[in-house]
């Protein structure tokens, strides 16, 4: 199954610069249908509209943090199967394990490269197919 490049992706990060970086990288990879939110509290209602297919989120944000957003997504019947990629500066082992247990699909530590983002996305899509 080919990857649907029209899928709608929500990018959640409290820093607008990071959101722009991710948005542009995604566009470079062919994903042009993106939207942004600056924390979990803003993101969750957007996701609940059912318009999104993929979530890229930071961890450390004011308001609702990324890990709580992930847990909320997994707890929501309609959103539970949505792929979630975490892009964060948090690199404590226990936090990575916590994210994995909460059901994250990919985990990228900042600073990251365009190549890393591509690899993780590819891997997530591969698994979705399989």
């Amino acid at each position: 199954m080919a990857i649907d490049k029209n899928m709608k992706i929500l990018i959640v990060d409290d820093f607008s610069t990071m959101r722009r970086i991710i948005k542009n990288l995604l566009r470079d990879l062919g994903f042009t249908n993106t939207d942004e939110a600056d924390d979990g509290n803003t993101a969750l209602p957007m996701l609940q509209t059912g318009k999104f297919d993929f979530l890229v989120t930071d961890w450390n944000m004011p308001g609702m943090q990324g890990i709580d957003l992930l847990k909320n997504v997994r707890a929501d019947e309609k959103l539970a199967s949505m792929p979630v990629l975490m892009v964060t500066a948090e690199q404590k082992r226990e936090q990575i394990v916590e994210a994995a247990q909460a059901g994250v699909n990919g985990y990228i530590v900042k600073p990251f490269t365009a190549q890393t983002l591509k690899e993780k996305l590819d891997k997530i899509f591969e698994r979705m197919d399989g």
Partner: protein, 252 residues
């Protein structure tokens, strides 16, 4: 200090003091200089004793304040660990901004000749193309133009892909803003902590009755933010490879 003034004022108004003043007045009226001096000195002594007592009290309080300061572990911790830690964090911010600026500048410097190349090669092809449109080219010249055009296309695709890659470098270099902000925020909260401690000490030293409320800055959750090279960060991974290893060990 207000209390001290009040205490000695009360003493000055005591029966004993009043009697002393009466004695002094009697001696002065009787014209006895020697007795007048004695009585005067006795009166002054009351005031002096009060002063020595106050100095004693203040000295003790100062001593206690200094001891409290020395024993306050949070301050010790700030001085011994957190300040050097903050210095290192700020130094890392400089490194990151330096890298970002240099990566951006390199990408710009590498992009400019590629763009120049596109402009000059386009100009060459354009003048030949005009001659072709005006039907001024011979068959052989057209063959040359055709070959040149093929090179031109290949060249442009190559140049544009290179510029695209360099622009991605510029894009990625901007990541410093997020990461350095996270580091600087931590240093700001340390400065706030020190500020509150300093205010506490000033309060303690300037007043003996005012209770100081030890406000602590909220620990910014358990999240540590970016790992700073050279700073001990136990239980962290050192990069994306380790994240991948850890996740794959968890069955990812």
């Amino acid at each position: 200090m207000d209390n001290a003034v009040m205490d000695s004022d009360i003493n000055l108004l005591s029966e004993d003091s009043i009697a002393k003043v009466r004695n002094l007045l009697a001696c002065m009226e009787s014209g006895d200089l020697e007795k007048t001096q004695d009585q005067f000195e006795e009166l002054v002594e009351v005031r002096e004793n009060e002063m020595y007592q106050e100095i004693g009290k203040l000295t003790r309080e100062l001593h206690e304040s200094i001891n409290t300061f020395a024993q306050d572990e949070s301050l010790l911790n700030i001085a011994e660990d957190e300040f050097p830690d903050a210095r290192q964090r700020l130094a890392h911010v400089i490194t990151m901004t330096d890298e970002a600026a240099n990566n951006t500048l390199s990408a710009v410097e590498d992009s400019m000749p590629l763009c120049d190349n596109v402009i000059s090669s386009t100009k060459e092809v354009e003048s030949e193309w005009k001659r072709f449109s005006n039907r001024e080219l011979t068959v052989n010249e057209f063959k040359t133009l055709s070959g040149n055009l093929q090179n031109y296309f290949t060249n442009n695709i190559e140049n544009a892909s290179k510029v695209n890659g360099l622009l991605t470098n510029v894009l990625m270099a901007q990541g410093f803003q997020d990461l350095t902000s996270q580091i600087i925020k931590r240093v700001i909260s340390l400065v706030e902590e020190v500020e509150i401690s300093m205010v506490d000490i000033i309060k303690l030293a300037s007043s003996k009755t005012n209770e100081t409320d030890n406000k602590k800055i909220d620990d910014p959750a358990a999240l540590d933010g970016p790992v700073v090279p050279g700073l001990e960060a136990s239980g962290t991974v050192s990069g994306q490879d380790e994240v991948d290893d850890l996740l794959s060990s968890l069955g990812f």
